[in-house]
């Protein structure tokens, strides 16, 4: 069953991060973070940008873990698919979460 977890984990982490950033946007807008200035930007922009990079870091860590001897599957098939999906999760993360950096406002 661990091999099944290896296959789904990267995309699952992406989905969790995607939902978390969407939730953070809701919380930030509701709490008025976009009206709090922070070094020429707003608290909302700072929080979303930070969250974007933390999310990418986590996805890179998942990819690295799935490639490491400790977590890599003994099955070449599972190892291959899990790495494909971890790379996919990273690319999907960059593409879908990029609005957090580019559109940091509550309009």
């Amino acid at each position: 069953m661990k091999d099944v977890v290896r296959i789904v984990i990267a995309m699952f982490v992406w989905l969790a991060l995607f939902s978390a950033l969407y939730g953070l946007e809701g919380v930030g807008c509701a709490a008025g973070w976009h009206r709090i200035p922070v070094n020429g930007a707003t608290l909302f922009q700072a929080a979303m940008t930070l969250a974007f990079f933390v999310a990418l870091l986590i996805l890179v860590a998942v990819l690295a873990a799935l490639r490491s001897p400790r977590f890599r599957s003994a099955s070449p098939f599972v190892a291959h698919i899990s790495v494909i999906l971890a790379v996919a999760a990273l690319v999907v993360g960059v593409w879908t979460l990029f609005p957090a950096v580019a559109l940091s406002h509550c309009a």
Partner: protein, 827 residues
């Protein structure tokens, strides 16, 4: 024992009872699968008739064919029937029938659960059909948006039929999904490692996991909306702190994955049938598996793209627009893998292949218009127009019905053992293909001209008349094609001549048996060393029949099969299945009585029906427990295995784990709703908070911890064959403390339910209370087994299952109490 004697012995053991009693008591997957397929087809025909009524109404402007109120019921029921009573059950039927045969085993993991799910589907479907015939059908659209579906705007029971009937049918989907997951992971032929699984099994596994993640939000939404309609708990009422947008989130958290839940099994059919028709193997098996998994997850990140027109902030729109465009990538990988397979093979233009070509044409168009509506500015223009209706039909009809018709004609010889003789199918294909494209290409056009969805009539001078008339005529051409398919299948089943065993020259295991298949599937359970074992060893079918593999010697009346290690396919345990039983239909009837009582608002019957459900469930579990001990058994080929029920992780444990996974998604959705109303919902904060009660909190948390810890101790004691009494007694005391604490909290929360905040915490605490009660009942059941067990105490697997449920109940109780008791401090 020769092959014929083996066949007779196994047939006696595995067959259903003769006559009508066989229909209601069968638990055999082939029977249940066929019944699922038949009933789903009937619902497809009902949905099709409703579609024809819609097209008749729209054929001319200002049509007087039906009144708007009836028209509302017709289009609502068309969507509801097609999505909930046709598409998902047809997948379930196909999976239930095919998977054991593809995987090289004798039945699914829980034969009685298959039957229970089927009867829930039938009873739930009948409720909706009754509503339709009685003129009480739901009429708020298949997505039932409040406030239109709220009691203020939809008085009467129409909407209740949807909320309760569909939820009842979803019980069936969850049951099937649990069954499919465990069956694929644990019930395969020895040697069938993950990389050797038939591609359809991968798709079915991904789809089943999606059902477990996708359906609970809708079940929760339906429960909340029914609570609002029946008792006035205002989850979706803005003036009282609720939000109609919460329904849209819960609905589309289900609704968008639903599209892929429908498409992925069809893609599995394409991936199975197309290589056989091209006389080669699937190109890029690993990439196709990865694409299916990626598509499943991406589909859960798209739900807001159905809500682009609701005023969501631009960043949110951008998140979901980006995710929506990405879906084209894994879909494209699969399309190119199929095209590559055709390129490397030697395709033959058979009837299944015609439907696959039809699929390519229509689904690619549907995919491209999908990318169009994923772009926010375009979606704002096309939203709620006939363009979207056309797009979704290209995706769903093109992406599901065409492949399923390909699958139908591909597996028909396996199902009937007959050779296709009549050539009506080819003509039917062309009528369906041309009719479909005529009907829905035109609908794109009229949508772009501004025709809205769900309108009963349109003005004469709108300029849409000719297009609508063409669309309606085309849809009738398509309907004639569908009727010809039904006629063709009926002729085939009744009149066609006997065919050969493997007419397509396929390599998968469902063709390594006599057709129509015997009730036991495989006379001996084969060893698999290739993705297409029959292609590798053409004599495999004869070797299986001669009993050369596992479990080739029938013993007594036992329905035996094997479980394997999920990754490697190494044999792990012997499973003895229960025989034919009327318990599933009885339990489904009792479940249906609870739903029906809620529908007619005879609430005093609901607890009685639920008590009946609990009683029958306990009887179900005990009848399993009553099976004789077998110990270590010889399963053939000099292999000794324990009985699955005597292992730590029995099939029941795995089923519980997957079911609790779905349950956790429902609980997570409830938390999402709580957080959503808190942050985004209007008219928040509430006028009054639930005050902190240290007594409730302490009682609840300590009780939950005690119950969970002592069940762990009981599991350790069971593994040593020691007495469990002390542990079970303490665990029950812990569960009782938690129940008392939650009951006290529920009483206080009930006083706040005239506002969305109070209603939400009421449901959270009630959810925890129900789970604590389930854990307490299971602990009592375990104690009863201990009492009756004598020399045979409850098996470790029984204790581990109860431990799993108790752990979950403890987690839910703790988190619910903390989230509700401290809410006033979070403002």
């Amino acid at each position: 024992m020769n092959a014929l004697a083996r066949h007779r012995a196994l047939s006696r053991i595995w067959s259903s009872e003769p006559g009508w009693r066989g229909v209601i008591s069968t638990v055999n997957h082939s029977d249940i699968g066929r019944m699922f397929l038949l009933v789903a087809t009937l619902f497809f025909l009902i949905g099709g008739v409703l579609a024809m009524l819609i097209r008749t109404q729209l054929a001319t402007p200002r049509s007087a064919f039906v009144a708007p109120a009836i028209y509302d019921q017709i289009f609502t029921m068309h969507g509801t029937v097609m999505m909930f009573l046709f598409a998902i059950p047809l997948f379930e039927g196909a999976a239930v029938y095919l998977l054991p045969k593809l995987l090289g085993t004798r039945d699914l993991a829980y034969p009685r659960l298959s039957a229970y799910g089927f009867w829930c589907y039938v009873f739930g479907g009948l409720m909706l059909v009754f509503a339709l015939l009685a003129g009480l059908a739901p009429d708020s659209g298949w997505f039932m948006y409040p406030p239109l579906s709220s009691s203020a705007h939809s008085p009467g029971v129409n909407a209740d039929f949807w909320l309760i009937g569909v939820t009842f049918v979803e019980v069936s989907a969850i049951a099937a999904a649990v069954e499919i997951c465990v069956s694929i992971l644990k019930f395969r032929a020895p040697g069938m490692s993950l990389d050797l699984m038939p591609i359809f099994a991968w798709y079915a596994l991904v789809t089943a996991l999606m059902i477990l993640m996708g359906f609970p939000p809708l079940i929760l939404g339906s429960i909340l909306l029914e609570l609002e309609r029946a008792f006035g708990l205002p989850f979706f009422e803005s003036a009282l702190g609720g939000s109609p947008l919460l329904w849209q989130h819960l609905f589309w958290l289900f609704g968008h994955p639903e599209v892929y839940i429908i498409f992925l099994p069809a893609a599995g059919v394409i991936s199975t049938v197309l290589p056989v028709m091209a006389r080669t193997t699937l190109l890029g098996y690993r990439w196709v598996v990865a694409a299916a998994v990626a598509l499943a997850f991406l589909s859960f990140g798209l739900w807001v793209h159905h809500m682009f027109a609701t005023g969501i902030p631009h960043m949110g729109l951008a998140f979901f627009s980006a995710a929506s465009t990405l879906v084209a990538v894994p879909t494209g990988i699969q399309i190119f893998a199929w095209l590559g397979t055709l390129w490397k093979g030697q395709p033959r233009l058979t009837l299944p292949m015609l439907y696959i070509i039809g699929f390519f044409f229509t689904f690619v168009i549907g995919g491209l218009t999908g990318v169009m509506v994923a772009i926010v500015p375009f979606d704002w223009q096309a939203h709620d127009t006939a363009f979207v209706t056309a797009h979704l039909h290209y995706v769903l009809f093109g992406g599901f019905v065409f492949p399923m018709l390909a699958g139908l004609y591909y597996w028909l010889p396996q199902l009937t053992g007959r050779k296709r003789f009549f050539r009506i199918g080819e003509m039917a294909f062309w009528l369906i293909f041309l009719g479909f494209n005529g009907a829905f290409l035109a609908m794109h056009w009229v949508g772009l001209l501004g025709q809205r969805r769900r309108i009963a009539w349109y003005p004469v001078d709108a300029g849409w008349t000719a297009i609508n008339l063409f669309s309606s005529i085309s849809s009738f051409v398509m309907a004639i094609g569908v009727a010809m398919v039904v006629f063709d299948i009926a002729l085939h089943a009744l009149l066609a001549i006997r065919g050969s065993r493997n007419p397509w020259g396929a390599g998968t295991l469902e063709w390594a048996m006599p057709t129509p298949p015997a009730a036991y599937n495989f006379a001996s359970i084969p060893i698999v060393g290739d993705r297409e074992p029959l292609a590798r060893d053409p004599a495999l079918a004869n070797k299986i029949a001669r009993g050369e593999y596992f479990l080739g010697e029938p013993r007594g009346d036992s329905r035996e099969t094997l479980t394997v290690d999920a990754a490697s396919g190494r044999p792990e345990a012997l499973v003895i299945f229960p025989g034919n039983s009327t318990l599933p239909i009885t339990l489904a009837a009792a479940t249906g009585a609870a739903f029906l009582a809620a529908l007619i608002r005879a609430y005093w019957i609901v607890p009685l029906a639920l008590l009946l459900v609990v009683g029958i469930s306990l009887r179900w579990g005990w009848s399993q427990h009553a099976a004789a001990y077998h110990g270590i058994q010889n399963v053939g080929r000099a292999t000794l295995l324990p009985q699955a029920i005597e292992t730590d992780r029995s099939p029941g444990w795995w089923g519980s784990a997957f079911l609790l996974g779905a349950d956790a998604v429902l609980y997570g959705s409830l938390f999402f709703g709580y957080a959503f109303l808190w942050t985004v919902g209007p008219n928040w904060p509430p006028p009054q908070w639930l005050s902190l009660s240290v007594l409730e909190l302490a009682f609840g948390l300590i009780g939950a911890a005690v119950a969970a810890i002592d069940l762990h101790a009981a599991a350790r004691a069971a593994s040593r064959s020691a007495s469990l009494w002390r542990e079970l007694l303490i665990a029950f005391a812990g569960a009782a403390m938690t129940i008392a604490a939650l009951a006290m909290a529920l009483t206080r929360a009930a006083q706040l339910t005239d506002y969305a905040y109070g209603a939400t915490i009421f449901v959270m605490i009630a959810y925890a209370l129900i789970h604590a009660a389930i854990a307490a009942i299971m602990i009592c059941s375990l104690a009863y087994r201990t009492l009756r067990g004598g020399a045979a105490p409850p098996r470790t697997s029984n204790v581990n299952i109860v431990r799993l449920w108790t752990d979950y109940a403890a987690f839910v109780a703790a988190t619910s109490l903390i989230a509700t008791q401290f809410s006033s401090y979070l403002t």
